[in-house]
Amino acid sequence: MNAQQRTSTYNFAYLDEQTKRMIRRAILKAIAIPGYQVPFASREMPMPYGWGTGGVQVTAAILGPNDVLKVIDQGADDTTNAVSIRKFFERVAGIATTTKTSHATIIQTRHRIPEVPLTAGQVLVYQVPNPEPLRFLEPRETETRKMHALEEYGLMHVKLYEDIARNGHIATTYAYPVKIEGRYVMDPSPTPKFDNPKMHMSDALQLFGAGREKRIYALPPHTQVVSLDFEDHPFEVQRFDKPCALCGAEQVYLDEVILDDRGNRMFVCSDTDHCESRRAKGYRGELGGAQ
């Protein structure tokens, strides 16, 4: 953790207070109606749309001077975009940052949920490219909003039915749609479906920001999140044949790392903090080397 000197030309956390209030109102509404996409007047941010502007706006709106921020992309703290967003908040808010999941009060993420269960008081902020789970079945916003309002979700199951008919199983591997408290169908953002069960009844507050599409949605702590499926084809998460090659962890999501051009590869934890913590405690995988 290290607190930074903040750039004083901009307001704390970049956005002006008026804008933050507007975003906080949208967040409160989203928390009150779990899974419902609340439109908000998304602002241009100094990073491009599609690179986390929704998550950044949500984080900027809820960030306080005593918060400790962690930013991950693909589960890792050291991927380029995670580095860039972390630096941004260090610069415009001067807050402390960390790579330790357990030390963070706010975690902004793209594409992953940390392996260690989050705790009460933590906030997970997701960057969302396409908030509308029905978008690729129905391109029209006016129609999809009506479908949500009237709970017309038959089409969603048509897609899953077609998956099974064609492949023998549901072929959606990420951005796997979920139903919230038996009401709204929600896009969990492009996290692998491996992470879906972590959303269910989480102790942490989960906030979703889509900047380009101008939507915020939320899961308050202890919210029921059910992945859509059929009774005779229940939802399943990915399984990996081997444990992490570095720390030996099982039942975690692994990245495939190509070692050479002769087809050699290893599988390592996608959650870099989880992997490092385990190795610090002495756990080793087959390629983890000696302590």
Binding site: M22, F40, T142
Partner: protein, 365 residues
């Protein structure tokens, strides 16, 4: 190796350093000044102000310099700056009828009150590269009118006097929307659409407008009037009880005149397409006017058959800051999702092999 991208704080810093170096280019060549950009690349500056939605020539010039001449990047810089500015209030509607016109033409009439003023246009130039501009030749000063400007009545008002063109929609009872302050919800009002179009991407709107001329949602346009010039911007100050001028901006306004068959309620008359943009951006203003008219299809009871008439299609995709961000986000790592797809493809291939293997056995039996 791709994992080298991880642990990349130093790599990012180095990339930024190299970018700054490339931006400056050969140090023996003098650095561009913002004045040079604002004065000599003025139409680029105008486009950046218009699509960056911020009227400030110096900042737009700075953005162009910083963006190495990439105008969409410059627009993005200006927008990201603009979003941090507090909002003091809304100006009074500008009066383009009282514009100090530098250019004003109509394709509908040979001559009209106020005259046809060609102004600084490329229209009648031969597009021959002028080698002389390789140096810094002396350039004559433009001629100035000596008499006072004759009032240039809007052509719509001339047609309107005869009832031949639809009247300007009465100012909405409520304030027009503000696309910066409120989330867009379809269907949008015309005022809201025009705001979005005004800062929409010139190339995208040009292509859409062009497609309406080629028969997709054809609306038989005439360039009723195009005018470029400066107007006063006034702000109503409650403490004073009246509006005070806060400055002048240069605008380009285009009024298209389009055919309309009429309906049970309305006799046949001309309809309008409207475009208003910052600076001298004639092509853009015309494209906006064509798109505006096409987007009124539903209001005018016309069949919606082509993309330019579809407001969700046009407005959701016309912002180049949004578009470039999302297209370019494909460069971000996606390996977690790719891993999920990789696993699925491997499973499916294994199943496929197992199945074709058993079919081969059956065939052999």
């Amino acid at each position: 190796m791709y994992v080298a991208v991880k642990g990349g704080e130093a790599a990012i810093d180095n990339a930024h350093r190299l970018l700054a170096d490339r931006r400056r280019g050969d140090r023996d060549v003098p650095a561009l000044t913002l004045d040079q950009i604002a004065e000599q690349l003025a139409l680029g500056v105008d486009r950046v102000m218009s699509e960056g939605s911020l009227y400030d020539r110096r900042l737009a010039a700075l953005a162009i310099k910083q963006a190495r001449g990439d105008l969409i990047e410059a627009i993005f810089l200006l927008r990201a700056y603009r979003t941090t500015l507090p909002r003091f209030g809304y100006s009074e509607p500008v009066d383009t009828g009282a514009m100090l016109v530098e250019r004003r033409i109509s394709a509908c009439y040979k001559d009209l009150p106020g005259g046809q003023l060609l102004g600084p246009t490329f229209d009648y130039t031969h597009r021959l590269l002028d080698e002389v501009l390789d140096g810094d030749p002396a350039v004559d000063v433009g001629l100035q009118r000596t008499d006072a400007q004759e009032p240039a009545t809007h052509i719509a008002d001339i047609l309107g006097a005869e009832g031949l063109i639809e009247e300007d929609a009465p100012a909405a009872a409520s304030e027009p929307g503000d696309i910066n302050q409120t989330p867009m919800e379809f269907p949008l009002s015309r005022a809201t659409r025009l705001q979005a179009l005004s800062r929409g991407d010139e190339g995208f709107l040009l292509a859409l407008g062009y497609s309406t001329q080629r028969g997709y949602a054809r609306s038989h346009p005439f360039a009723g009037e195009i005018r470029i010039g400066e107007v006063d911007v006034e702000l109503f100050v409650p403490e004073l009880g009246f509006a005070v001028p806060v400055g002048r901006v240069q605008l380009t306004e285009c009024q298209m005149v389009n055919q309309f068959k009429g309906s049970a309620k309305v006799p046949p008359q001309f309809t309008r397409g409207y475009g208003l943009v910052f600076g001298q951006s004639e092509r853009k203003a015309m494209a906006v006017a064509l798109c505006d008219r096409a987007l009124r299809a539903e209001e005018l009871g016309e069949e919606v058959v082509a993309p330019p008439q579809d407001q969700e299609f046009v407005i959701s995709h016309c912002d180049n800051v949004q578009a470039t961000g999302f297209v370019e986000h494909l460069k971000l790592p996606h390996y977690v999702d790719f891993q999920a797809e990789l696993g699925l493809v491997r499973n499916m291939r294994a199943e496929h092999e197992a199945m074709s293997g058993s079919e081969a056995r059956e065939a052999a039996e």
